[in-house]
Amino acid sequence: MTKPISNSVAINRRDVLKALMLAPLAGSLLASSGCAPSATSRAVSWTSLPKNYSYARTDAEKQRDAELFAETFFREHELLTLAVLCDIILPSNHENGGALAAGLPDFVEFMAKDRAQYKRPLRDGIGWLDSYALQNFGARFIDIEEQQQLAICDEIAYPDVQEDALQPGIAFFTLMRNMTLTGYYTTELGFRDLGYQGNTPNIWDGVPEAVLARHGKSYDAEWLAKCVDQTRRDITAEWDDEMNLIT
């Protein structure tokens, strides 16, 4: 048994749910929220990601994904450690939700299974973090005070630090920051946080005027003459013998 977790570390489930309610989203991503399996005393929780996907897969791909979902790689303690780290990297106290609302621990676990080269660095990184926490604060990472966790993160969150002893921790934290940001910004929460506007049918008719003006750019007339007149896009193309478009 791990020892009880201090309140400062435990992520309050109510806060997570609050973040979810602030993000009233349709779709499967947030359709269910669940707890991590908990034989320990952890209260940390995150949005569960779906295990069923349907998008133009070959049979071989479907089979492999089913195998990945059937596999459990991280031990519970490891998953909880990842959850705490993700939450430090992108905290829940934000109107667009944080890493836990975006289901990051599930995502990291899936990617570790999908890209086996992540397995060792993640597992070894968690091991390094725990032994560093034990060495300095007498307990594993998730079992120390929040300020102590943050003190460790301050030491390993910047790649310009040269201390040899910290290099494994720095490499691990960099990996976790990458995974957390990529896992977050590829969800609806991340799209909203970024203000992403694309991935929808539209009629592209150039950079908005105000944006051009802001950057001191403009379209010159000669170039524009070669461009599509979107009011005529549905008129079937015809050319004269001199290769001129006449419709």
């Binding site: 990601l49 996907y53 998008y55 133009a56 070959t58 791909e61 492999r64 990945l68 430090i88 990297i89 992108l90 905290p91 934000h94 667009n96 899936f110 999908d114 890209r115 993160c153 969150a157 910047y158 310009d160 934290f173 960099t174 920051r177 990458n178 957390t180 990529t182 910004y185 590829t186 969800t187 609806e188 799209f191 946080d193 992403y196 506007q197 694309g198 991935n199 929808t200 049918p201 539209n202 592209w204 950079v207 908005p208 944006v211 051009l212 950057h215 750019k217 170039w223 070669k226 599509v228 005529r232 896009r233 549905d234 008129i235 079937t236 193309a237 050319w239 290769m243 001129n244 478009l245």
Partner: protein, 568 residues
């Protein structure tokens, strides 16, 4: 299975096979189209990856062995196919991409559609290297014209001698980072023009849709607004009732009679694993340059001891791919930019064709520049090294917390990149051959590659790097990463990596040094043709698809004519 004798058997349904199917079936001939992969139509929702959000994939669009260009890429195929190995000779690192689906690699290509120019067919006359084609631009021009009109390609007429004008649809307006590139290029007197790509910015017929600018051509277009062989050629041909389509059918060899004439093909039905035969008056290989060479090499008989069409020993020889190198820059001017939908068509809206004279340079042949950047859709990898550009601003890289959100937004879309695609010099000693020991899962001998770049390509890559640095900096960019040096061949892509492999069954006048005549007809068997890029004598610094289409149409016209005259 096949008592019937077809007029035509076509092996492979990519650009060359699709065009031959369309032309020959429309001419009233009975066609068997044999494809190693399955049926595929991007309009079917079960095949749709277009317009999906990243969270609809558990790996958020990350690549896998089976989807090397990402989880949403339309390609069923890749570098590493289950049960279909290939091998390397010595320290060769050839990369071979194969599509296994109706339409082949046209389902997910970049749609960059460049005509070869007059110089591209006569490179030996220009620099004394390699060989001339037996045909010139004037022979192919009428077919390029017809391909433009049938399939649709946007671009602009610029009157450039070696980048000829065409029947273009109007171009999409440049994106913001492309305007930065245009200004940078002009400062250096480097020309820049609208790109030339086969996406429908305007209606061309009632069957295909008009582009709605999702920027996802690589996912295959569900409204058929970009060119793929299946959507633009094969479906219309199937409607005519003259085509029998055999999918999941892996051709082993072309069968021949005692006189050496082709009688049809034998293939493995991948569903029941059994071997079948098709009989046909004419066999057309369009399985891609290396796959067609493999089929020929595997078609051995008393009459064709070294493989069909290989009395010259040239099948597989002169294999060559485009050269490639790339570089990226951080565009500080675009930090904290306004966010709007900038997807446009898939890939670049502007490009730079080859603009220099080789007589003043220390390498032969040229390259063109493809421009990248902008506010792409986040997918796996987005946010990696989130604030690495802080380095250039005197701020610290790394950290954690909500401040990272500001970093993400500040640097989103503040990037400009260039990819170069150039022409290599074909070499007799770069080749594919049958591996004497290795077979695929159906027992068919596989290809073994032998390929080394020469100093021509390496020196060209060095020049690419210098050009890209100058252009990116002139555009306001701060160069990212290290400039690759001689020890990395200046960033030169591995052979095959650009997926423009050509030359393995090259055309020519002399049967001793070429495999086919100018119509792709084997010198050694008059009723066998090759209509993929295997017949290319040289690749040009252009993407091969438009030339494959034009030459396949030209070969089809010749076949119809020769059949009328009862010559074949």
């Amino acid at each position: 299975m096949a008592e019937q004798e077809y007029d035509i058997i076509i092996v492979g349904s990519g650009a060359g096979g699709g065009m031959a199917t369309y032309q020959l079936a429309n001419a009233g001939l009975k066609v068997a189209l044999v494809e190693a992969g399955g049926y595929y139509d991007p309009a079917a929702d079960e095949n749709r990856t277009q317009l999906r959000n990243p969270w609809e994939s558990p790996r958020r669009g990350a690549s896998t062995r089976r989807r090397p260009f990402g989880d949403y890429n339309a390609c069923i195929g890749g570098w590493d196919l289950d049960g279909e190995p290939y091998t390397q000779k010595g320290d060769t690192e050839f990369m071979w991409w194969r599509g296994r689906m109706l339409g082949g690699r046209t389902n997910h290509w970049g749609r960059i559609s460049l005509r070869f120019g007059p110089l591209d067919f006569k490179r030996k006359d220009v620099d004394g290297l390699g060989d001339n084609w037996p045909i010139g631009y004037e022979d192919v021009k009428p077919y390029y014209d017809k391909v433009d009109k049938l399939i649709g390609v946007f671009g602009s007429n610029e009157g450039l001698y070696n980048d000829p004008d065409g029947f273009f649809l109007p171009a999409p307006k440049p994106r913001l980072h492309e305007l930065f590139y245009i200004d940078g290029a002009r400062k250096l007197n480097v020309p820049v023009y609208p790109a030339r790509k086969s996406m429908l910015t305007k209606r061309i017929n009632d069957e295909r849709g008009v582009c709605y600018y999702c920027g996802q051509c690589s996912r295959a277009c569900s409204i058929h607004a970009d060119f793929s062989s299946s959507t633009a050629l094969i479906y219309p041909a199937l409607k005519g009732g003259q085509v029998d389509l055999y999918t999941n059918s892996m051709v082993r060899e072309v069968t021949t009679d005692e006189s050496g004439r082709a009688t049809g093909v034998s293939y493995i039905n991948k569903e029941d694993k059994k071997e079948y035969q098709l009989k046909g008056r004419i066999v057309i290989l369009a399985a891609s340059a290396c796959s067609s060479a493999r089929i020929l090499l595997n078609s051995q008989s008393d009459h064709h001891e070294n493989g069909l069409g290989n009395s010259s020993g040239h099948v597989g020889r002169y294999l060559h791919d485009s050269t490639g190198a790339s570089r990226a820059a951080f565009l500080p001017e675009l930090m904290d930019r306004d966010i709007y939908n900038e997807d446009g068509v898939g890939g670049m809206h502007v490009y730079t064709p080859w603009w220099l004279e080789n007589s003043t340079l220390d390498f032969p042949r040229g390259y063109h520049l493809e421009i990248g950047g902008g506010m792409g859709m986040p997918s796996y990898g987005f946010g990696f090294a989130a604030n690495q550009y802080n380095d250039y601003l005197g701020e610290r890289v790394g950290g954690y917390g909500n401040g990272l959100r500001d970093d993400i937004r500040r640097f989103y879309g503040a990037r400009l990149s260039i990819a170069c695609r150039g022409e290599s010099v074909p070499q007799f000693d770069n080749y594919c051959e049958l591996d004497p020991e290795v077979v695929d899962e159906w027992g068919i001998p596989v290809l073994r590659f032998n390929y080394q770049w020469t100093d021509y390509e390496i020196d060209q890559a060095k020049h690419m790097q210098e050009s890209m640095e100058a252009l990116l900096e002139a555009s306001g960019g701060i160069l990212l990463g290290e400039k690759p040096g001689a020890n990395r061949k200046y960033g030169l892509a591995k052979p095959g990596e650009i997926i423009h492999e050509v030359g393995t069954t090259r055309m020519g006048l002399d049967p001793k040094t070429s495999v086919t005549n100018q119509f792709g007809q084997l010198h050694d068997a008059s009723n066998v043709f090759v209509v993929d890029a295997g017949t290319f004598v040289s690749q040009a610094d252009k993407n091969p698809t438009w030339t494959i289409l034009a030459l396949s149409w030209r070969a089809s016209d010749y076949i119809i004519e020769q059949m009328k005259q009862q010559n074949i």
